[in-house]
């Protein structure tokens, strides 16, 4: 099989298209709620394998060829973590779930009092640390292309491959990673694609390994003999470097943003960790099984000076096995792409939540907050994806392909490892403070940059004299020999100093400073996550307008999700309608929901904009100050009990109010009937006597007679309505079950309400309306007619508009009627469904008087007879009504 550049490109594109299909299908399954197996422990474990990037796929062999078995440390660290630090991972996963953590920056920022600064610092460290890593993947892809086209005609520019790879990956990531602002930040499609890639790369490496051992090495015994005879120093290097590298890779496994993302954020179930604790080490064992044989055989067979980083690919090529080479290429391609995709999503989430959102919040005034937060965050995320990949590409261009794969990887590891002290300290030590974390992070990052990152550019940034003598002649600041300690391996030197100073600063400053109340609270929450029944209250009281909060929530988590959240809370509180009381508990839950989309710091700031008064009282802190688990549990039980009593009391109070109100209403009702009947009667009587007199012009007579007729109609309508209402209330109606589509009912209603000729623009959704329903269609139409006529009569916009939105939720059909007028003021919303609740709106026309104010009362009775409801939807701008009813039995059976 002869491989040309074009075939290679075609295969890569085909492979990527397959991944698209997998991701797309998985996303769809998950959205349809049939994604159970997508979330199995197996998929979870496979997704963890993004730890094995192109660096481990190709670079491990190169590493082995240069330094013997030292490459094992890279696998050893993470394996030790999943086996031995199982409890720590479980704690992280639990904290992330309780606190709705979206990224590692979010975790650290949330722990330290939801501090935006800490979040931004962690984000910057992560971007700086991961950029070389992304460059590494681009480099590996362009190197492998180069390996293939070596010897082929036409010197193809490999940079061009890297560039297009970066663009393609940006596209894929934007499509599947930033399509929407998911409150849980879970990406089924991407996790599935990553799992598939994990299988491909394992097969590829095993395939090459089997070929090398049995095809070239002469079986197991032969290969072992070759290894013994090879010039590679298998146990080279001092023990310190082994320990150091193992610890470093363990740290990186926990702190790399992409690892944190698959390990913690995408985790569905603590129990998956139990499977991963043996399955992941098994996976990396298989990945590392053939590394040494490939390195040894490669050194033997390939010409002197071949790049050992490419042995996995070069061996099959040089032996003329095109198919195997292609498999190896796909394996490497998978390793690179899956890492880049997940890393980019994780970084983009961090950049948008911890840099863009806080900046944006501080630039905009409180009035403008959240006008379009959702759009801004999504856009920021998409731009961040592109920016992160562009940075990676620029780094790749800058460092060129001269650096060995493994050294770039280790630089990245050391960078992100700076987050470890703040993270571990944060979840185990309640005394840790934000100032301490900030000091540690900044100092560690600075030392890392000075001793490792900047020198990686060669002498381009740090000139040779500074490397040799230190800046301004300060020898103790030499990047390779900090504090005059020489002779250490440069990597070990950098890791030791940066982490040592980082941890020391973190500890010291934490001891010397005092945490603010929110930090204290979050600290207790994180450290004692398993002892808590729920998150503590961070809001002690509230002056918040619930409707403002609803508008805010809609803009962050989306329309329906927000409404559901508020309605569920209202039900929980025992209130009817969509608006719960803004209790501290509710504010807390709301903030947590928002945090799932925009991060803890931004969510806290957003909710804070709407809540007056101090966030935390001394009393709240007392609960945190010395909680033994028992006291907590006891008080939790007490609280539950008193909450229950409160609910009962509230229900009783509401019932009592309702009764008193009913008695009052009966009086008012009679008096209103009298008024509503006497008013048309007055016109009729007055004009009738005028008409009996002489001297009227024919035009006057005609007009007056017309008024008499119109008023007589009004009275008839009123009597009809009254009868209708009393029949409906007594439940003496027989409902007709008719089949039809929702579209027909809406068509009919618009026609009857005269909406087709007036100036009211009606916006509809034909696709959603093509919904078969089985119910009393005439009664349903009566409700719709009422709502449309109300919009015609009362919508006071210059260009009145009525939007009719239809959706299905389970067996329920939901139809929203939303106009663009000024809406109904909050106090009047309570009464609109009562009889004769005509509001002080404008009247249409002078001859035909408006209705009697029984319309919505009748609608409510009808909807309750149809097994549904009609409610006023707050926070929609104009007047908005939601009609909900069951779709009907026959339609469900027809599906």
């Amino acid at each position: 099989m002869i491989l040309t550049f074009n075939i290679l490109v075609a295969v890569s594109l085909g492979y990527v298209a397959m991944l698209f299909a997998v991701a797309f299908a998985a996303d769809r399954r998950a959205r349809a709620g049939r994604g159970g197996w997508l979330r199995s422990p197996l998929i979870y474990t496979l997704s963890l394998s993004i730890y094995c990037t192109a660096w481990t796929f190709y670079g491990a062999v190169g590493y082995a060829a240069r330094s013997g078995l030292e490459y094992l440390t890279i696998y050893l660290g993470p394996s030790l973590v999943v086996i031995g630090w199982w409890w720590l991972l479980r704690k992280l996963v639990r904290i992330a779930r309780v606190q709705r953590i979206t990224s590692i920056a979010d975790l650290v920022s949330s722990r330290f009092g939801k501090s935006p600064w800490i979040g931004a610092v962690v984000t910057l460290i992560a971007v700086a640390g991961v950029t070389p890593y992304i460059a590494l993947q681009l480099q590996s892809i362009s190197l492998t292309f180069a390996a293939f086209i070596e010897g082929m005609d036409g010197g193809m520019d490999v940079d061009f491959v890297a560039l297009w790879t970066a663009i393609g990956l940006a596209l894929f990531t934007t499509l599947f990673g930033t399509r929407n602002l998911d409150p849980s930040e879970r990406h089924h499609g991407i996790v599935m694609a990553v799992a598939v890639e994990a299988v491909v790369k394992l097969f590829a490496l095993l395939g090459v390994g089997v070929f090398v051992v049995w095809g070239l090495g002469g079986g197991i015994a032969g290969t072992l003999a070759r290894i013994d005879a090879s010039p590679i120093p298998m146990w080279q290097g001092e023990g310190g470097r082994w320990v150091g590298l193992t610890a470093l890779s363990a740290a990186a496994f926990l702190t790399l943003p992409r690892m944190f993302h698959v390990l913690v954020v995408e985790n569905d179930d603590d129990r998956h960790l139990a499977v991963a604790s043996w399955a992941f080490p098994l996976y990396v064992l298989l990945m590392s099984l053939f590394v040494v044989p490939i390195a040894v055989v490669g050194l033997e067979r390939l010409p002197e000076g071949s790049n050992p980083d490419l042995f996995v690919l070069a061996l099959p090529i040089s032996e003329g096995h095109g198919g195997l080479a292609l498999l190896a290429f796909l394996g490497g391609f998978s390793s690179a792409t899956s890492m880049v995709i997940v890393a980019t999503i994780a970084l983009a989430t961090m950049v948008s939540n911890h840099i863009v959102a806080p900046l944006w919040l501080s630039v905009r005034g409180p009035d403008e907050v959240a006008r379009d937060l959702r759009g801004t965050i999504l856009l920021a995320r998409r731009v961040s994806v592109a920016a992160v990949l562009a940075l990676g590409y620029v780094y790749f261009q800058y460092t060129g392909s001269g650096v060995a794969l493994s050294s770039i990887g280790l630089i990245a590891f050391a960078g992100v490892a700076q987050i470890l002290p703040a993270m571990l300290g944060g979840i185990t030590w309640r005394g840790a403070t934000a100032k301490g974390a900030g000091a540690g992070l900044l100092l560690g990052a600075a030392v890392w940059a000075w001793t490792l990152f900047l020198p990686s550019f060669g002498t381009a940034i740090i000139p040779q004299p500074v490397l040799d003598q230190g800046p301004w002649g300060l020898a103790w600041l030499r990047p390779r020999a900090l504090f005059g300690i020489e002779g250490l391996d440069p990597l070990l030197h950098a890791v030791l100093w940066s982490l040592l100073l980082n941890a020391a600063a973190f500890g010291l400053v934490s001891i010397l400073t005092f945490p603010n109340p929110l930090e204290r609270l979050q600290g207790a929450q994180f450290v004692n996550v398993f002892d808590q029944t729920g998150p503590a209250r961070t809001w002690s009281r509230s002056g918040a307008e619930v409707e403002d909060l609803l508008v805010l929530a809609q803009r962050v988590v989306g329309h329906e999700t927000a409404l559901d959240l508020f309605q569920a809370e209202a039900e929980e509180q025992g209130k009817s309608g969509h608006l719960p009381d803004a209790t501290p508990g509710f504010l807390q839950r709301l903030e947590r929901e928002l945090a799932g989309s925009v991060g803890a710091a931004a969510a806290h700031a957003l909710v804070g904009q709407f809540v007056q008064g101090p966030g935390l009282s001394v009393g709240d802190l007392m609960a945190v100050a010395d909680e033994a688990a028992q006291i907590l549990e006891y008080s939790a039980r007490l609280e539950a009990k008193s909450a229950e009593q409160e609910r009962t009391a509230r229900a009783l109070r509401e019932a009592n109010d309702k009764l008193t109100q009913l008695a009052r209403q009966k009086d008012a009702f009679l008096s209103r009937i009298s008024h509503e009947l006497r008013t048309p009667m007055t016109s009729i009587r007055s004009f009738s006597s005028i008409l009996q007199e002489e001297g009227l012009t024919p035009a006057e007579a005609r007009r007056f007679a017309g008024i008499v007729e119109a008023e007589a109609h009004r009275m008839t309508r009123l009597l009809d309505d009254l009868l209708d209402l009393s029949v409906l209330r007594d439940g003496q109606v027989t409902l007709e079950r008719q089949e039809g589509t929702l579209a027909e009912v809406i068509d009919r209603s618009l026609l009857s309400a005269g909406a087709l000729k007036g100036d009211l623009a009606v916006l509809r959704d034909p696709a959603a309306e093509a919904l078969p329903v089985v119910t009393d269609l005439d009664r349903l139409a009566q409700v719709f007619i009422n709502l449309v006529s109300n919009a015609r009569k009362y919508c006071d916009a210059d260009r009145p508009e009525l939007r009719i939105a239809v959706q299905r939720r389970g067996p329920q059909v939901i139809v929203d009627f939303v106009d663009n007028g000024s809406g109904i003021p909050a106090p009047e919303r309570e009464v609109i469904f009562e009889s004769f609740a005509r509001l002080s709106g404008r009247r249409a026309g002078t001859v035909a008087p408006s209705g009697a104010g029984l319309g919505l009362a009748i609608c409510r009775e009808i909807m309750s007879l149809l097994g549904g409801s009609i409610t006023y939807l707050p926070g929609q701008g104009g007047a908005a009504f939601r009609v909900t009813f069951p779709q009907g039995v026959a339609a469900a059976a027809a599906e």
């Binding site: 008096s671 006497r678 008013t679 007055t682 009587r685 007055s686 002078t846 001859v847």
Partner: protein, 122 residues
């Protein structure tokens, strides 16, 4: 120019009927249908007679009456109060608040006309 009557009422057809019979009788009829600004309208328009409906959008006729009587400049203006609720309570309340006369809807045209004339003359 005839004598001025101010009609504070919100039902368009009743306004038309009353305007017709009063105009034909030689009155200059001004109408006002917003409860919140009605009292001010009485002050600026200084009509000879006010016909005041009890139920208005924005503010009840009783409230308006109370304000008119509390203000020295309008305390003496004759007010004919109309109500469609027709309860004794309303009548008592209207008279106690200082309505000059009280009538329930529906009314006879001739009676209204007679009352307005009487109030203007008295």
């Amino acid at each position: 120019m005839g004598r001025r009557v101010l009609l504070i009422e919100d039902e368009p057809n009743i306004i038309e009927a009353l305007s017709f019979i009063l105009t034909r009788d030689g009155w200059t009829v001004h109408t006002h249908s917003d409860g919140t600004t009605a009292a001010a309208r009485v002050r600026t328009g200084s009509p000879e007679v006010v016909v005041l409906d009890a139920m208005l959008p924005g503010r009840s006729g009783f409230d308006i009456l109370r304000e008119l009587r509390a203000d020295p400049s309008t305390a003496a203006v004759p007010v004919l109060m109309l109500t469609a609720r027709g309860q004794e309570r309303d009548r008592d309340l209207a008279l106690r608040l200082g309505a000059t006369e009280f009538m329930t809807k529906p009314f006879a045209n001739a009676e209204v006309l007679a009352e307005v004339r009487r109030l203007a003359g008295g």
